[in-house]
């Protein structure tokens, strides 16, 4: 285990995957159970030891109150999940999933993981990204970069196409419906320049494949209640059973026109059948939401629907015929089936990890077929701005600005005369009403030279680096000197905090 290799990790809402660059190709690393994807499910056993993956998913029905699912949806939120007397933060649960992925991968590669690129939904905000990075740090992995999932998929796609030596440039639309999030991204993939550039991105952090499952779960619940079974909302175990059945039905409906619900659920025998049309009727609103988000993206973009050369479907939920057909209808073309929707993201992350790695072996060059590798240009998913005194937002970095970027604004002033300290929140979101946007941190400016509040004498500079971290600086325009400023992200954790969490983390 002396070798050290970079890996790419797709940390999904329901399922995760890890990949690396092996000789000649990108290889998704199978876990100890022999699967390419690992369910993002964690069970904390009675003795406090965690179980992650398939086993935990199987136990979910038996131990619903000890099992954590879809933790990704809580990332960046200030919540605590309590199991027994212990309280866990979403970052810690994610860290456990990462540890499992890495441990299994190290076994498979027979090498240590040197650094990792972890993917996040493109529409993840600063807080959610910071939480994901913290999870990586808690898991003890060197997080080289957080990569948007659609970009990762495009990297994998570009590599796949690049092998075919087709010197063209394509506008690719990525429809990424994950377990808990939806991302719509328009990406310019230039095979000649080996350049992958995100043009626009839009998304929903509230719509994912699990919502489709929930729709079926609602139907299953109805059937159970009709058959005289226990109410799932009052019994976690029955709820877990219902979820399990619903997931099965969803998967079945991806391949067949009808799915049967049979057996004992909640103490009652159920026997019902759900047709695909019924299912699609139940969930048409969910799909419409993704289409609306897509519409919004094209409204903002310089490109139209007609400019799209290729539609990529990413995420396991895009296996649903409803999504495939709907997307095909929207774009008037059949979505590409070249990429495996479950693996493309992890593959792309592995490519990026290799490209960024200091210990690059040159294998990527061979694979990608170019000398200088691929350059991936990403954009800021949402606007970043300042919440002003009157609760309005002054947007500094706009959504779809390429990163890294630095924006300077010079029209700020203090509220009071001779005010020497200013404290203001940094918000993320498009709304002009700052209270509708998400607060991601506070900036404190100190030692401002006293002067009348009418002087617009303060400049504020936002810098968003390649790895998505924000730095805020301020300058006094009259003296030209930097004002001492400190930006405190709502979720930044210092090393001390991380090592404490690391120490508290139960071992696998």
């Amino acid at each position: 285990m002396t070798d050290r290799k970079p890996v790419g990790i797709d940390l999904g809402t329901t399922r995760s995957a890890i990949a690396h660059i092996a000789v000649g190709d990108v290889e998704v690393l199978f876990n100890d159970e022999g699967d390419a994807v690992t369910p993002s499910v964690v069970t904390i056993e009675e003795d406090g030891s965690p179980t992650v993956g398939k086993t935990a998913l199987n136990q979910a029905v038996l131990k619903p109150d000890r099992t954590v699912q879809e933790v990704k949806r809580e990332m960046g939120d200030d919540v605590r999940l309590s199991i027994d007397s212990e309280k866990y933060q979403p970052e810690e649960i994610s860290a456990l999933i990462l540890q499992k992925l890495i441990r299994d991968a190290e076994n498979k590669m027979n090498a240590e993981v040197s650094e990792a690129v972890i993917t996040v939904p493109a529409y993840f905000g600063e807080n959610q990204r910071a939480a994901t990075e913290n999870a990586g740090r808690i898991a003890g992995v060197d997080v080289e970069r957080l990569l948007p999932e659609p970009s990762a998929a495009c990297l994998a796609y570009g590599m796949h196409k690049g092998k075919l030596n087709e010197d063209v440039s394509e506008i690719v639309f990525v429809y990424d419906l994950g377990g808990g999030t939806f991302d719509a991204s328009l990406v310019d993939v230039d095979f000649e320049l080996d350049h992958v550039e995100t043009l626009n991105t839009h998304g929903l952090n509230s719509v994912g494949g699990t919502d489709w499952t929930s729709a079926i779960a609602g139907w299953v619940t109805d059937q159970v209640l009709e058959a005289g079974g226990a109410d799932p909302s009052e019994n976690p175990q029955v709820q877990s059973q219902v979820q399990d059945k619903a997931r099965d039905i969803k998967h079945t409906l991806s391949n067949k026109d009808t799915a049967a619900l049979t057996g004992m659920v909640g103490g009652a025998a159920v026997d019902a059948e759900l047709s695909r049309e019924e299912f699609e009727g139940m969930t048409s609103e969910l799909f419409d939401e993704t289409i609306n988000a897509t519409d919004e993206l094209f409204e903002r973009s310089d490109f139209g629907v007609g400019d799209v050369d290729k539609v990529l479907l990413v995420g396991g939920a895009t296996r649903m015929p409803q999504v495939r057909d709907g997307v095909e209808e929207y774009f008037g073309m059949e979505p590409s089936v070249e990429m495996n929707p479950d693996r493309a993201v992890a593959q792309g992350a592995a490519i990026q990890a290799e490209l960024l790695s200091d210990e690059a072996t040159g294998v990527t060059d061979e694979i990608v077929g170019v000398d200088d590798g691929v350059v991936l240009v990403d954009v800021a998913p949402r606007s970043l701005g300042i919440k002003l005194h009157d609760d309005t937002t002054s947007h500094i970095i706009e959504s779809d600005d390429e990163i890294p970027t630095m924006v300077r604004r010079e029209d700020f002033r203090t509220v009071e005369d001779d005010q020497t300290t200013v404290k203001f929140p940094i918000v993320e979101g498009e709304s002009d009403d700052a209270t509708e946007n998400e607060k991601i941190g506070m900036v404190t400016l100190e030692d401002i030279p006293p002067r009348p509040s009418t002087d617009e004498s303060l400049a504020v500079e936002f810098e968003l680096t390649s790895d998505g971290t924000l730095q805020v600086e301020a300058e006094d325009l009259e003296t030209g000197e930097a004002v001492s400023s400190s930006f405190e992200s709502s979720i930044t954790r210092d090393d001390e905090e991380i090592s404490k969490l690391q120490a508290d983390l139960p071992t696998l």
Partner: protein
Amino acid sequence: MDNSDNEQPTTPPSRISNSSPVETSEYDGSERVDGDIAYDPTATAYHRRLGVSLNPTSSQVRNAGKAASNLFHPDNDTKYANEDFFMNISEARKILSDTEKRSAYQTFCANFGVVEGTKRFESWRSRGEPRSAEATIKQQIRQTSFDYRECQDVTEYMPLPDVRGEKSHPDGSNQPTETSSDEPIAKDNADSDQPPTQSPHTNDAIGDSKINKQDSSGKDKTHSDGDFSPLEDSTPNLHTSGSGVPDISAGSNHTDYMLSGYTPKIVTSTEDVEDLSVLNNTYSGVDYVEIRGFIPTEVLLFNLPKRTVSTYSQESITGLSWSKRVGTNEYVFKFKQKEIVIELVEDQEPSVSSNSKTDSDSVADDENTDSEYSYLNQSPEGVGDLLANVIRYLWHTASIKMVVLRVVAGSVWFGIVLSEFITLFGSVFLTLSLIPLQKTGVYILSVYTLYYIVFISIFGYTLPTGNMPFSLVLFSLISSCVSWVIFSSDQELIKVWDKE
């Protein structure tokens, strides 16, 4: 001006060849990195960063932008990777690919030149675009004394517009049509297929030239904008029947010459420009033409061999453009809707390297040139000339004008004040002399005292060099008249009273 030299196209790989990555040095932005597209991430103007024309098509922006951002992206393995450069490129792409932003940007550039325009545009954006671009520009134009329109910049790299005709110059109507030689020469130029007339003068001068040939010839090639054709493009050589001046710009060696042997002459000028003079920099060995009075407060130094314009103050003059008339030795300078055309006329008695005596064509015109301009090369003789030059120079600076104006205005004001005092003391004297006639005397005195108290308390007296409100002058004039009327009518009263 030095960085303009850096912008010359070297002969880089047509694509970045990474098979042999250059690891020796950090890329500093000075070198052109692509054979076809010349990116310059350090440039101020957006289109120059992307190496596209001032008014590029959207696909040009997209392609150049993609390639440039690929090149400079910090993740790139090559020596070009640079976060600042990448951000500069990104900014340029963002503005040029957005119809609205681009149009605002171009409006700024059209009014202030590309460098100043870019700076003002950025400043406008950094202030959150408080008003529309047009309103902002209008206000800024009101606040500045310079008119930047129709101008390119000398500061960043010198565009050399071809003053061939109206096509390339929107303000072609302003061009002096009296340069009668223009037409026939241009025509000659087009029709003539005679081989280039190598000017013996030019060729002989090469030996003495200290000018780096690449400097100037490379410079010309940087202009691929399309809007401007290079100063000295592949124009066939002109014979010089029109002006009788050998064309020093023609032929492949044309750039290697020094000014020695030529005398600058003003052909036309919208301004009262002072005499031109030629300076020789003893350190560089380069000749300059000094142009005084064309731009207020500045003296332009025109370095012909290097094709640069500088000033003594070393400050960049935004909005100055210049060009050479193809087929002539005429150089056109434009600034603030002013225009001056300077012609380089070969000396009758050439100095140093010139052997133009053999050039019989030039005789006819030389007479004219000589009589009018032969003294131009002479340095001023005696204190009188020197003083005259100093005064003339000072006159052309704004500050001396202001002093003169203030002295004149101050004198007028002082005169008025003086007359007021005379009137006052006159009336006091009169009053005193009329003490026996108590009533009228007291009346007059009180009127004047009251008047001065009001006058001083409202306006106060200011020094002549200070600001002098017009209303004050007017008020004092009116009050003088009123007091005179009162005074004279009073005398009538006095007379009447006397009689009684």
